[in-house]
């Protein structure tokens, strides 16, 4: 250690060179002999990439990291020990900054560090592998490369390749020595297409028409008919609502000031359905959901304000603004970009090139927005008697609300706890009455759950470690670094939401179209090119068909961002029309069928399952749009399931059991679990039992002459096909046996009783037939068995 002063003098001559890449051998020696051992022994435990937990956001295991510093700022100022936090910390002079925490370094160790900083901190270490990877991501990872115009591969089988999509698929199959399955039969195909596009089974007539249509564009006609159906929006709108974590309630409302219900969330749901039905260009769909209030077109179409529900129908986290903003950043970035930006709330993203500052750039944008207390009306109001009655009630409630609100500060000042609490309770009740009125009164004009810019936009500080009380540098409002040109424009127009929307919807943004293409593909095939639709980051699996995803992304943009055109392109391809038949040899090579040598067997989600049961029974209410129906309170409702009232704090068991998308997070793909509760629904629920009775009570069924004809009727009605001879004999055998009866074991379904009571009171819908507790006949049981069997719940 005695040699240090001498050595230091020698090295000081090289001071200016220390920051350059090349170090003299003496500098390297000094570092290796005197500095690295201290850092490694005393600091790396908490301050290196290998640390179990990195403390204070500070890394000391590379020169870059050292200079970058941690939460408290730069660790060293080369050449100036007095200004270097690291030196201050090891000196133990500041009681709030003493490192290493457990024991002060020896004096000669401190001296060595001081000398080293004075020398300009020569440091031969480069960033560790992990850190390098982080900075190289931007150039390497496929997902953030510009979309390439790709050449369509040559077809080895030009008959099979009906569209360019097929060329890409076939090329990959060829590479792996696989051949595509033969086409599915027409009945299977129309059933698949109909469930895919409108979430309902085809009618017997539709099937017959298609089977008998021998023209070459027979299937194209089916696809076009389905794309034109208003039920298309109900099916694909629901997929989008999964992404938009849609709910009709606030989850955890602001205590004492808010009611739990969002009485106008449904206007956003309707906006989504309508947008899909109108084939709204996807870039416009994005712009409206992020910034409809700032778009000139909104002037002519105020209804599009409802689009902002994308941002505002999230959880209210008991009024914790930072969590609300976090949720908005999350839904925006995962939903449109498949980026997990919210990981950067507390620290730089561990895997993707998203610095913590980027999160706070976005935070600034959303923190410069507010929700008005009264939402704007988006329909023309007609001055009917019903409206006047509504308006009177609304006014009374508004007056009461105003009185109570203005009484609260006085009561608080007076420290009259009892009166204060009472007023709070009254206010809560008033808020609840208001949302009840708005939600249920048909004369209440529709409103949009908008977000507005505050008078003046402001930038946000970085919250160090995500702690709101621990403020760091203020960062400008602007877009993510990884998706921007080197000079990033700063947003000054209001909150900056409009500019953010433009950046996301920009054709130069490679993620936006790729992410949407992946979402569309996934709902046609059961799996996306990228298996994780909400995360295209470094931790996601690479796409199965990278060229095809780019081809389709380019196609989406060049065709006016039309989603319907993409459906058409995909569905008219041979790959969509393959059969799902097994091929054990191929299954051994590609068990997950990622190369799509066959069609995937897919299970229906709860919505199309319940909707198809109602459709098969002939009682589906095909009305579109409107206020939600609470299916728990009205199990007899025959509206489509998408119109169910979604209470995020209280999702019904039946939805949970069928893997409904949790409305608290972006859900690009639902889980697919198989649990006994799903079977119980088909075995025991009133809706299924009722349907079985209903089918057998249909005049078309009753009027048939013989049992075989009846079997055929049920097969066509439920499966849209005729039974095989094996199925006929099985069915006949079953229905000719007398059901076993044990009257003692007939349980009483209490939920039926409840349903009946409510029906008696409100009498809104045709009552369930199975109010009768008579046991099922053989035929009814047979019909129910068909409904329980796999074919009802799966598309193949």
């Amino acid at each position: 250690m005695k040699t240090i002063p001498l050595l230091a003098i020698l090295l000081l001559a090289n001071y200016s060179r220390a920051s350059a890449q090349e170090l003299t051998p003496a500098q390297t020696d000094f570092f290796e002999n005197h500095i690295r051992p201290i850092l490694a022994d005393k600091c790396y435990k908490c301050h290196s990439t290998l640390a179990e937990k990195i403390k204070g956001g500070l890394l000391l295991d590379s020169r870059e990291a050292l200079l970058k510093g941690g939460d408290s700022g730069k660790a060293i100022v080369p050449g100036d020990p007095e200004a270097s936090l690291l030196i201050k910390a090891v000196r133990y002079t500041d009681p709030d900054l003493q490192m290493p925490k457990d024991k002060k370094l020896a004096d000669d160790e401190i001296a060595a560090l001081e000398q080293w900083v004075k020398m300009g901190a020569p440091d031969p270490r480069t960033a560790t592998a992990d850190q390098r990877k982080w900075s190289d991501n931007k150039t390497n990872h496929w997902a953030w490369q510009p979309i390439k115009r790709v050449a369509i591969p040559e077809a080895s089988d030009s008959d099979w390749c009906k569209t360019p999509v097929d060329n890409f698929i076939l090329a990959k199959l060829d590479e792996n020595g696989l051949k595509p399955n033969p086409p599915a039969d027409k009945r299977t195909l129309i059933r698949r297409a109909t469930f895919d596009l409108i979430g309902l089974p085809p009618t017997v007539e539709e099937v017959e028409a298609f089977v008998n249509d021998n023209s070459s564009d027979a299937f194209a006609k089916v696809v076009d008919r389905l794309l034109a159906s208003p039920h298309y929006g109900e099916r694909w709108g629901r997929h989008w609502l999964d992404v938009a974590r849609y709910s009709d309630t606030k989850g955890a409302p602001r205590r004492n000031t808010e009611d739990n219900v969002n009485p106008f969330a449904w206007t956003y749901r309707d906006y989504v359905i309508r947008s899909f039905n109108e084939d709204k260009p996807y870039n416009k769909f994005i712009m409206e959901q992020l910034a409809a209030d700032r778009l000139p077109s909104t002037q002519y179409n105020p209804a599009s304000l409802a689009a902002l529900g994308f941002l505002t129908t999230g959880d209210h986290f008991m009024g914790m603004q930072n969590d609300i903003i976090n949720d908005r950043i999350d839904v925006t970035c995962k939903g449109f970009l498949a980026l997990t930006v919210t990981c950067a709330r507390c620290h730089d993203h561990k895997f993707d090139p998203i610095p913590q500052k980027d999160y706070y750039s976005l935070r600034g944008i959303f923190d410069s927005c507010t929700e008005p207390k009264i939402e704007p009306v988006i329909v023309r109001v007609t001055d009917s008697l019903a409206y006047q009655s509504y308006a009177r009630q609304r006014e009374q409630l508004a007056n009461k609300e105003f009185e109570l609100e203005s009484s609260l500060p006085k009561l608080r000042r007076a420290e009259d706890r009892e009166a204060f609490k009472m007023a709070q309770r009254d206010l809560r009740e008033t808020e609840h009455a208001i949302s009840e009125l708005e939600l249920t009164n048909p004369a209440a004009p529709s409103r949009a759950m908008v977000l507005e810019d505050t008078m003046k936009g402001h930038d946000s500080p970085v919250f160090i470690r995500g702690e709101a009380g621990n403020r760091g540098e203020i960062v400008p409002r602007r877009f993510l670094q990884m998706l921007s040109a080197p000079v990033r424009p700063v947003y000054t127009n209001g909150s900056g939401r409009l500019q953010l929307a433009m950046a996301i919807a920009s054709p130069n943004n490679p993620l936006t179209p790729r992410v949407m293409i992946n979402r569309i593909w996934l709902h046609h095939f059961g799996a996306g090119f990228v298996p994780t639709p909400d995360d295209f980051g470094m931790m996601s699996d690479p796409p199965s068909h990278p060229e095809l995803i780019d081809y389709l992304a380019m196609n989406l943009m060049t065709n006016g961002w039309s989603i319907k055109k993409i459906h058409r392109l995909i569905m008219l391809s041979s790959v969509y029309q393959e059969s799902s038949t097994d091929n054990p040899r191929y299954a051994a090579i590609d068990p997950g069928n990622r190369l799509l040598w066959r069609a995937n067997l897919r299970r229906l989600e709860f919505e199309p399952l319940r909707d198809s049961l109602l459709a098969i029974g002939g009682i589906l209410n095909t009305n579109l749009y409107g206020r939600p129906v609470d299916l728990r309170q009205h199990p007899e409702s025959n509206r489509r399931t998408i119109y169910d009232f979604v209470d995020r704090a209280n999702i019904p068991d039946v939805l949970i059991n069928f893997d409904f998308a949790t409305p608290d997070m972006v859900t690009g793909i639902r889980h697919q679990t198989t649990v006994p509760q799903q079977a119980l629904f088909l075995m025991n629920s009133p809706i299924v039992i009722d349907l079985a009775r209903r089918l057998v009570a249909l005049p078309e069924f009753v009027d048939l002459d013989d049992d075989t004809a009846r079997l055929k009727f049920l097969y066509e009605r439920i499966y849209q096909r005729l039974p095989e001879p094996e199925e006929v004999s099985l069915g006949l055998e079953f229905v000719t046996q007398t059901p076993l009866r044990d009257d003692n074991s007939i349980a009483v379904a209490s939920n039926l009783d409840e349903g009946k009571k409510r029906l008696g009171k409100k009498n809104r819908q045709p009552p369930f037939l199975n109010k009768k507790r008579a046991p099922l006949t053989s035929w009814e049981e047979f019909a129910q068995a068909l409904l329980q069997a796999n074919e009802t719940s799966f598309i193949n």
Binding site: K53, A252, D323, T340, M539, S540, S580, T581, D582, N583, P584, A587, A588, P591, G592, R594, L601, A649, D653, V654, D659, T662, M665, H671, Q672, T673, T674, V675, P676, Q677, Q678, L680, F681, M683, N684, E727, P739, L740, R741, D742, D743, S745, I746, A747, A749, N751, L752, N770, R773, A774, P775, L776, E781, Q784, A785, L786, Q788, N790, E791, S793
Partner: protein
């Protein structure tokens, strides 16, 4: 069948490499192990011994073959380390019980009763209850828990718990999920890690006597874990067994007839799947129907307390909590993995002297009975019991109390009781300051409790992870230290 044979031989070497093409450099994850049993056997080409072999082969083999079609199941799984406990019963004393009146005696506070305590901005409120030394261990327990006091040699009394935020809903969710955000609950993690021993019952059941607790479903949610790991919430106050689980009984078809119908369904499915790839989904659906059929009788049976002898009913007491604890025992007996029992009402801002003993009385006899009953059935050693609230209370008088004082919320200190599987009984752990205002010695955060519970079940809490949106999530986030001294 020949084709299938062929597939099996190919898979054992070739398909695994094939899968590698699609695999990124991910480390191995538990979710990759979730094949259905049939799928696994089919893929691996092994007999039933394969299930235990899976553990021997370790992660590599399984993750490779499972990658493409990972699927969740409730089949029982062996934890990576020897487990001390197989089941968990979490009795949640929601409302935040006062620790200084129950498990954490503070004579210094008694001396300061009615006097201003420095730096605490309030007047001291000495506990109105008497503490006496109980059990061989001589641990001081409040008179409000006479019967639990008798059991103290089986209990580990942790006196140094703390949490982040003293608000009921946030802290209740925190205790159950380890987070304020949307995260899977403790029970869901346990079910994900261990599966269930009874396939005819839900593996994670939450019992509540009436309405939903603060935070509602968040407390038993599975969040990003698959839905089958979600707790099934059951209102134990519903009048009939049929109302306990949705669609648990058929309103019109007798069981024998339903059996005949179900056999037909299976035959229909067989015809349907003839040409399809042997899908795990279809196979597990067949099993699901069979389970559902059995559940109809078994699940309702578990809740049918009329089947218990008089003596046992008296042991637990015929009260709401007595019923809940007795149901809990019937569930544990049937192999249910995790039971959450809501036993709340502890938010005593005023009238503490009168109201706290009532709440204590609600649970004192049932919980003591539960321990005794598990012991006589040999289940105590494999069942981890947790009793505690979401935070504690202040040593000072709550200013709302007036003449009938209570205590305000306090996130800095509370007590939690552990017992049963793997827990060292007859001990106290940690300490609060002389007035009980804050934990100061061997502090135990909620994350530490979670880490300890997982450790008792045979898991390293840092390794029980689930990949969601590119990140490995775990119950304890980036925190959690195991409280080793309480582990026997």
């Amino acid at each position: 069948m020949r084709n299938q044979q062929f597939a099996l031989t190919v898979i054992s070497d070739k398909a695994m490499n094939q899968d590698d093409n699609y695999k990124s450099e991910h480390s191995v994850h538990l979710e990759d192990h979730f094949l259905t049993r049939r799928q696994f056997l089919q893929r691996a080409g092994m007999g039933f011994g394969a299930l235990s072999l899976a553990a021997l082969f370790g992660e590599g083999l399984l993750s490779n073959i499972a990658h493409a079609e990972a699927e969740a199941t409730l089949l029982p799984k062996v934890p990576p380390f020897p487990a001390k406990a197989k089941h968990v019963v979490h009795v949640f004393a929601q409302g935040a019980p006062s620790h200084v009146d129950t498990w954490d005696p503070k004579p210094a506070l008694t001396r300061m009763d009615g006097k201003e305590i420095p730096n605490m901005n309030g007047v001291g409120y000495g506990s109105p209850f008497k503490f006496t030394n109980r059990g061989k261990a001589g641990i001081e327990v409040s008179e409000v828990f006479p019967q639990m006091g008798d059991m103290v040699d089986d209990l580990a009394v942790i006196r140094s718990c703390y949490t982040d935020i003293p608000a009921h809903e946030v802290a209740t969710i925190m205790m159950n999920t380890g987070s304020r955000l949307v995260r899977p609950s403790l029970g869901s993690w346990v079910l994900y890690g261990l599966g269930s021993e009874n396939q005819n019952m839900p593996g994670f059941i939450s019992l509540r006597p009436g309405g939903a607790p603060p935070g509602g479903t968040s407390n038993w949610q599975s969040a990003f874990l698959p839905g089958l790991y979600q707790g099934v919430s059951i209102n134990t106050k519903v009048p009939t067994l049929n109302q306990l689980i949705e669609n648990i009984r058929n309103p019109v078809t007798p069981l024998e007839e339903q059996r005949r119908q179900l056999d037909l369904v299976h035959k229909l499915n067989e015809i349907h799947s003839q040409n399809l790839q042997k899908e795990a989904q279809l196979e597990s659906r067949l099993e699901a129907f069979e389970m559902a059929f059995k559940m109809q009788t078994e699940a309702t049976d578990a809740f049918d307390l009329s089947k218990e002898p008089q003596g046992i009913r008296e042991l637990y007491g015929r009260s709401a909590q007595g019923n809940q604890m007795l149901i809990t025992r019937r569930l544990i007996e049937r192999g249910v993995r995790f039971v959450q029992v809501w036993a709340g009402g502890w938010d005593h801002h005023q009238d503490l002297e009168e109201r706290l003993p009532e709440r204590a009385k609600d649970i004192d006899q049932p919980l003591a009975a539960f321990i005794k009953d598990l012991k006589q059935r040999g289940l105590f050693d494999e069942t981890l019991i947790v009793w505690g609230g979401e935070f504690g209370r202040k040593p000072t008088r709550d200013r709302n109390g007036g003449d009938n004082p209570g205590r305000d919320h306090n996130a800095k200190a509370f007590s939690t009781i552990l017992a049963g599987g793997g827990v060292r009984g007859g001990m106290t752990y940690g300490a609060t300051d002389e007035f009980g205002n804050a934990a100061i010695e061997n502090k135990v955060h909620v994350h530490d409790l979670h880490a300890t519970i997982l450790a008792l079940l045979g898991f390293d809490h840092k390794k029980l992870t689930y990949r969601y949106n590119g990140r490995d999530f775990r119950l304890t986030e980036t925190y959690g230290e195991i409280i080793k001294p309480v582990i026997a």
